[in-house]
């Protein structure tokens, strides 16, 4: 090294030291600022979490507070005299005679007998408005199931119509002017009299859990939509899980890494971001118009949602497979296992918790979906509870939408109650995913 270079280095060392001193001075000066910035940053984070939590609290309290009234129902206890001459005058006990008898008149007369002084036609109509139109069907069903009841006086707990249910719950009250509410003062007086006589009872709303949709809020239930969701999810699971896992295993374990598989990979990732309504249009064009599958059926709904969940399952499964250490594959191969044996005996079981978690999250997404179902006719009024995957059905989120759009006031509470049930399902499914992960997850 020449002297010239040495002096140069010395001088540069000196400037470096000077610079360092200057820098530490600058750092010291800036330190306070940096601490303040960090404190602010944390405050923003806490603020963000706080806003999110507040939103959830507001959401849940409004849903629960407006949904709770739907879990009780008001009934009226009436002793209906099932007279032979009214129901089956010829005593044939023929099924169609039993079905077509005028049960409406029977229950109406029983109620009118409570108020013998009501004689005008108009008043009589106003009085019987207390009873739900479902009351007659309930008596009809009881008689058809057990014709031996004819000739006896049977005690029924019959539903009251939704407006009086709301009156009992205090939603409709005397504070509003008479002309502006659906229950008149006279009707309120009658209802209060019935209550004094101990005929009105409020109990757990079993109708809500045992019936399908109805246009009368007091007769509407969630079972039809729940069964529809169940069948749809079964089809979705049966299709998307095996196909998704097979695709993931092939792509991860067997496929050569080349252009083609790259393109497939990019496409799968893109597919996960496609708006769900597009899958609905595809379902309409392919499954219904081309293959001629029935509209409104959980089969088609499940197939459409399976298409939608496939990318989620494939991506999650591939991640889970990737997380299995190569040493396990190599050890198995070293002991003479075939590649298929390596996958089925070792890699898949180890990756299964991750795959199941991905599947459940994909399914939970599908459970809350309405947009693709609009196209294939599952946004519909369906009174019969579906018994299979080709019966017309609707699903829980669609039921929420349909009730939210109904004019009757009593549907407000039922909408929130349906949301609560949907949320219960979602929370249950997500909890299951967490449990599976915690229980079977292995770390290396």
């Amino acid at each position: 090294m020449t002297d010239a270079v040495m002096t140069e280095m010395q001088s540069s060392n000196q400037t470096r030291r000077e610079r360092a001193a200057n820098a530490s001075e600058a750092v010291r000066r800036g330190l306070k600022k940096r601490y303040a910035a960090e404190a602010r940053f944390r405050a923003y984070g806490i603020g963000a979490v706080g806003i999110a939590l507040a939103c959830i609290v507001v959401l849940f309290t409004t849903i629960i507070s407006s949904g709770l009234p739907a879990f009780t129902e008001t009934t009226i206890t009436l002793n209906v005299e099932l007279k032979q001459e009214d129901i089956d005058p010829e005593g044939t006990r023929d099924a169609s005679t039993l079905i077509n008898a005028n049960y409406r008149k029977l229950v109406f007369d029983t109620l009118r007998a409570e108020f013998p002084d009501v004689t005008k036609r108009r008043d009589k109509r106003a009085l019987t408005a207390i009873l739900s139109s479902g009351a007659a069907y309930q008596v009809q069903q009881a008689v058809v199931e057990d014709p031996s009841l004819i000739g006896q006086t049977v005690t029924f707990e019959l539903p009251v119509s939704a407006d009086f249910d709301l009156y009992e719950k205090g939603v409709i009250n005397k504070k509003t002017a008479e002309a502006d509410r659906r229950v008149s003062d006279q009707q309120m007086a009658w209802f209060d009299t019935l209550e004094e006589r101990g005929l009105i009872e409020t109990g757990f709303n079993t109708t809500f859990f045992t019936h399908a949709d109805s246009r009368e809020p007091e007769l509407a239930g969630i079972l039809g939509a729940t069964m529809g969701s169940l069948f749809t999810m079964l089809v979705t699971l049966a299709l998307s899980f095996p196909i998704g896992v097979c695709a993931a295993v092939y792509l991860e374990e067997f496929a050569p890494k080349n252009r083609l598989t790259q393109i497939i990979e990019v496409n799968i990732n893109n597919l996960a971001a496609v708006p769900s309504i597009v899958f609905g249009l595809l379902g309409l064009a392919v499954f219904i118009n081309f293959f001629g599958l029935p509209r409104s059926a959980p089969l088609v709904g499940g197939m459409v949602l399976a298409l939608m969940t496939l990318p989620t399952i494939i991506i999650a499964s591939r991640a889970a497979l990737k997380a299995v250490p190569p040493s396990i594959r190599e050890a198995a191969l070293g002991l003479g296992a075939s590649r298929m044996q390596v996958v089925t005996h070792h890699v898949l079981p180890l990756a299964m918790p991750g795959i199941l978690t991905g599947t459940i999250i994909g399914m939970a997404q599908a459970l809350g979906e309405t947009a693709p179902l609009l196209m294939i006719g599952m946004v519909a009024f369906i009174v019969d509870i579906p018994g299979g995957i080709t019966d017309p059905a609707t699903v829980l989120p669609v039921q929420v939408y349909l009730w939210a759009d109904s004019p009757e006031r009593a549907f407000v509470a039922r909408t929130s109650a349906a949301i609560m049930i949907l949320l219960t399902f979602l929370i249950f499914m997500n909890a299951l995913a967490v449990v599976l992960r915690k229980k079977f997850e292995r770390r290396w």
Binding site: D180, R182, S214, P242, G292, L293, S296, F381, D405, P407
Partner: protein
């Protein structure tokens, strides 16, 4: 094991596909979301009181329903479509092109369209012309021409109206309610200006654009198809008005009040006798080719047109449908009985 599972799924899929094209024993109905609350009541009663299955009713909107309805004849197509407006000529032609030639039109009654605000605010008294001046995109400039609507307050339209910002919540363009509101209220007000009325003959397109164009500067807020939501928003904002069907006003009379239009308040009787100016007929259309193929269609139509259903004291009037006059009801009862092909245009 996974392979077997996949195999089973594929076989099952093929089996379903094979069994799908069989005959249908359940009526399928599509169409208007305005008619939906009425049709579903009839369908439910029909399912409970007859041996037929309860019809499946989809809420697709009038236009969407007619599109599905006109797609062809056969069990994969719907039997009936509900509409909150009459079938258009183009739709009749489309139907005919796809072999749907035998169609019966049944008018079921009337639905009033109301403009309403919260009970906490005073009731509005307004004319159709004032509605037009408040909500149209272009309004007369007083010199025989048109100008962009610059009325910001109701009192700008007419000093007798309240000194409040114009804020009206209503359905989006896809809705039949919006079409009817534009046609009946806006066009009704628009026609009162002679030079615009003259335009109808000279330039029909421009006339329609002027009379049906709703302003887009924020005074008219598209609030979605959900009328319940509009009512909730009105409750929260006493200065706002909402546009929706009469049945929603009927069910929520304790929260909102209908504005008096042209001196007539939206009430059951005033809509029924035709004095309330903003009301529209509701229809359903039956595919003649399906009668006899799908069981129960005739009986469903009969149940819908029975006096106890769509008559003055019927179940539908409880739900807010305004019944037709006696003579008109008789006509459609007969058409339904005969399955008369009555849509030739």
């Amino acid at each position: 094991m996974y392979r077997k599972f996949l195999g089973v799924a594929v076989v099952a899929g093929i089996a379903f596909a094979g069994s799908a094209a069989e005959a249908r024993d359940q009526i399928r109905i599509v169409g208007s979301s305005t008619v939906y609350p009425f049709a579903t009541v009839v369908a439910e009663q029909f399912g409970k009181t007859t041996q037929f299955k309860t019809p499946v009713i989809e809420s697709t909107g009038s236009g969407g329903g007619l599109k599905l309805f006109c797609a062809g004849v056969g069990v994969e197509h719907p039997d009936i479509t509900n509409a909150s407006r009459r079938i258009k000529k183009s739709e009749v032609e489309k139907c005919a092109k796809n072999g749907v030639t035998d169609v019966t039109e049944i008018k079921i009654g009337y639905d009033g369209i109301v403009m309403a605000n919260a009970k906490s605010a005073p009731q509005m008294k307004i004319t159709k012309q004032q509605i037009f001046l408040a909500l149209a995109k272009n309004i007369p400039d007083g010199k025989g021409g048109l100008k962009e609507n610059d009325n910001m307050k109701w009192s700008d339209v007419d000093p007798s109206l309240p000194n409040k910002k114009i804020e009206v919540l209503g359905p989006p363009p896809t809705s039949g309610t919006r079409d009817a509101f534009a046609e009946l209220a806006l066009e009704g007000g628009c026609k009162t200006f002679d030079f615009i009325k003259a335009m109808k003959k000279s330039d029909k397109k421009k006339y329609k654009a002027v009379c049906h164009g709703i302003r887009e500067d924020g005074a008219y807020v598209e609030a979605g198809e959900n009328d319940v939501l509009i009512i909730r928003k009105l409750e929260a904002n006493a200065d706002a008005f909402g546009v929706f069907g009469f049945s929603f006003l009927d069910q929520n009379a304790d929260k909102v009040q209908g504005s008096v239009i042209g001196g007539v308040a939206p009430e059951f009787d005033s809509i029924a006798d035709g004095s309330y100016p903003v009301s529209r007929p509701l229809f359903f259309y039956v595919k003649g080719a399906h009668v006899g193929k799908v069981p129960g269609i005739k009986e469903y139509v009969a149940a819908f047109t029975a006096e106890k259903t769509f008559g003055p004291d019927g179940t539908l009037s409880d739900k807010g449908l305004i019944p037709m006059p006696d003579a008109e009801r008789k006509k459609f009862q007969k058409d339904g009985e005969m399955m008369a092909n009555n849509i030739s245009m």
